[in-house]
């Protein structure tokens, strides 16, 4: 086998920089990886859609409901105090995970989508006026397109799109040409969910700041793969979601610079976000509570805190190094099949492989792979403009996580050969 050297390097699981990474031990921490699908061991390659959950995250959520379930920030009773502590500890964990300067800069939300909508509505709607501009790029997920389109309709602002090249990389000079004094917001993805491209977010932010625009980075895909440092990036807002980083669904976080959050009007009204309410005048609570109306997803936040602990225990650099070797192995394995065409070949890439198999429609490939127990995503990946950029309506996408192995990739390539056989290609 051509890729046997890479195979050995990845299989050992050792990385150049970090501690020894034992992928089999990691796999043992994810109960779902022990199940079968259609009579075959599960090969889960749909991590960009959602990741699986380690036992420690599942246990943390169960323990919360079994031991300390109560509403937070109210009530003097013991359970409420314990639940509040755990919730606020989770906030501090997320703060440290992305290196925000203070915990108040972390707002718990439902998802990265909600984080972006919050910024569009609370910041954008109170700041932008007719003729202002918002800059995104071609590879955005719909969640970083549609909230800005809504904002444009509401304010008369204009959405401008920075193009990408055939490898799926941002054309940086063309992005810079779009920036001007009317540019008020730049919203860019850190990692493309459809292509795997890693954007130069620091340079993107610096360029935007030179023109006085605020910058939001959509970090939904980045959090499980890369060390994140919002202060080093310099961005004003950063969105992440829990379920893609081994945490529960229904919880995400928005980072915002304190002075911006403080000046922004609330996003939603209700309990928790107020200091005092009369029918004449309501005074809002301080950040972050101003943006957390209603009883939040307490168990979700605590579960996300456990996922952060989990990732930090393994070491995000170790994860990144392991995935990078696995991506090399997978890329070589797919390129060894003549009928496979990779879409998205950026130099700086996360472990996402978008591809086509001959002229077989991705949905047919997906069904055949599923019969082999292999879970991949097929379709437009909620990123129709990037599909259109490549003249496609759909691709097959295998997206890797820290628990994937070279055996998973071998199963994928065997499945692709099966699809070719079924379709006589």
């Amino acid at each position: 086998m051509k890729t046997s050297t890479a195979h050995a390097a990845v299989a050992k699981g050792s990385t150049k920089s970090g501690p020894v990474f034992d992928v089999q031990q990691v796999r043992g921490e994810f109960p779902i990886l022990g199940r079968t699908v259609n009579g075959k061991p599960l090969v889960y390659l749909d991590n960009a859609a959602t990741s699986q959950k380690p036992q420690c995250v599942i246990d943390t959520i169960r323990d919360y409901y079994e031991q300390s379930n109560a509403n937070i920030h109210r009530g003097v009773h013991t359970l409420s105090v314990q639940a509040t502590q755990a919730y606020e500890q989770a906030r501090a964990k997320v703060q440290r995970f992305i290196n925000a300067s203070r915990p108040e800069e972390i707002i718990f939300v439902r998802s990265a989508t909600e984080a972006i909508n919050l910024v569009a509505q609370a910041y954008g709607r109170s700041t932008l006026t007719d003729g202002d501009e918002i800059v995104i790029c071609t590879m955005e997920h719909h969640s970083n397109i549609v909230p800005w389109q809504l904002l444009c309709e509401q304010t008369g602002a204009r959405l401008r799109v920075a193009p990408i090249n055939d490898a799926g990389e941002l054309l940086f000079e063309q992005y810079e040409h779009l920036l001007n004094p009317r540019t008020k917001i730049v919203a860019m993805t850190y990692i493309s969910n459809a292509l795997g491209t890693i954007n130069p977010v620091r340079e993107i932010t610096e360029a935007a700041h030179r023109h006085g625009a605020v910058v939001l980075i959509d970090g939904a895909q980045a959090a499980p793969h890369l060390p994140i440092d919002v202060q080093a990036i310099g961005c004003d807002f950063f969105a992440l979601t829990g379920h893609k980083m081994f945490g529960p669904v229904g919880i995400g976080a928005l980072f915002g610079k304190h002075e911006l959050l403080d000046a922004m009007p609330p996003y939603q009204g209700g309990g928790e976000m107020i200091l005092s309410v009369t029918f004449e005048k309501t005074t809002y609570n301080a950040v972050p509570h101003k943006f957390e109306a209603g009883t939040p997803n307490i168990a979700g936040a605590i579960g996300l805190g456990a996922a952060v602990d989990y990732l930090q225990r393994i070491g995000i650099d170790t994860v990144g190094a392991y995935e990078s070797e696995l991506l090399k192995y997978a890329t070589a394995a797919l390129q060894a099949i003549p009928q496979v065409r990779l879409i998205g070949t950026a130099k700086h890439k996360a472990a996402v492989l978008s591809f086509l198999v001959g002229d077989i429609h991705p949905h047919d490939v997906g069904t055949i792979l599923d019969a082999e127990g292999i879970a991949v995503r097929t379709g437009h990946h909620c990123a129709q403009p990037v599909m259109e950029r490549f003249g496609l309506s759909a691709t097959v996408r295998a997206s890797l996580a820290l628990y994937n192995t070279t055996e998973d990739i071998d199963a994928l390539t065997a499945g692709i050969h099966k699809a070719l056989e079924v379709f006589g290609q």
Partner: protein, 150 residues
């Protein structure tokens, strides 16, 4: 693997490779667009009606093997049928792919459409098989709006 062979049987693969009646009909009496927002598949169905009979039917579009074969087989099965017969065939076809009992005594025979019966074991793919039929119905009703699977 048996279920997979049942789904991708030779007749389906043949109609996917060489779809029948895959063309545009100029000045069609009815024309409708179908769209599956989940996968981005699009199909346009054209019908010519003479005295309540579907004298010609054709489709254009891009989709998976199941949707392409379903469209191709649909055109073959309803050409020359009355509008009422075409609609009855759709009802029976839907029962087939949903895994419900097909009314064999009073409904029209499915014939080659039976080849798509394997879809019932793949719930995620049922819409691939039915989109073109929903679009046909809109074309027969001379509706101009977009039909979606959602």
């Amino acid at each position: 693997m048996n279920e997979l062979q049942d789904l991708y049987q030779e007749l389906i693969l043949d109609h996917n490779r060489s779809p029948r009646n895959c063309r545009r009909i100029e000045n069609a009496d009815g024309e409708a667009n179908g769209y599956n927002p989940l996968c981005g598949d699009r199909v346009t169905v054209y019908v010519t009606i003479d005295n309540d009979i579907v004298s010609d039917v054709a489709f254009e579009g891009s989709g998976c093997a199941i949707s392409t074969a379903a469209a191709s087989l649909m055109t073959q099965s309803i050409k020359g049928k009355s509008i009422a017969e075409a609609e009855a065939l759709f009802k029976n076809f839907r029962r087939l792919v949903m895994g419900e009992a097909v009314a064999s005594d009073n409904g029209p025979a499915l014939g080659k459409l039976e080849a798509l019966g394997g879809v019932r074991r793949f719930p995620a793919r049922v819409k691939c098989a039915t989109l073109v039929w929903h679009t046909l119905k809109a074309a027969l009703d001379r509706q101009s709006q977009m039909v979606t699977t959602e």
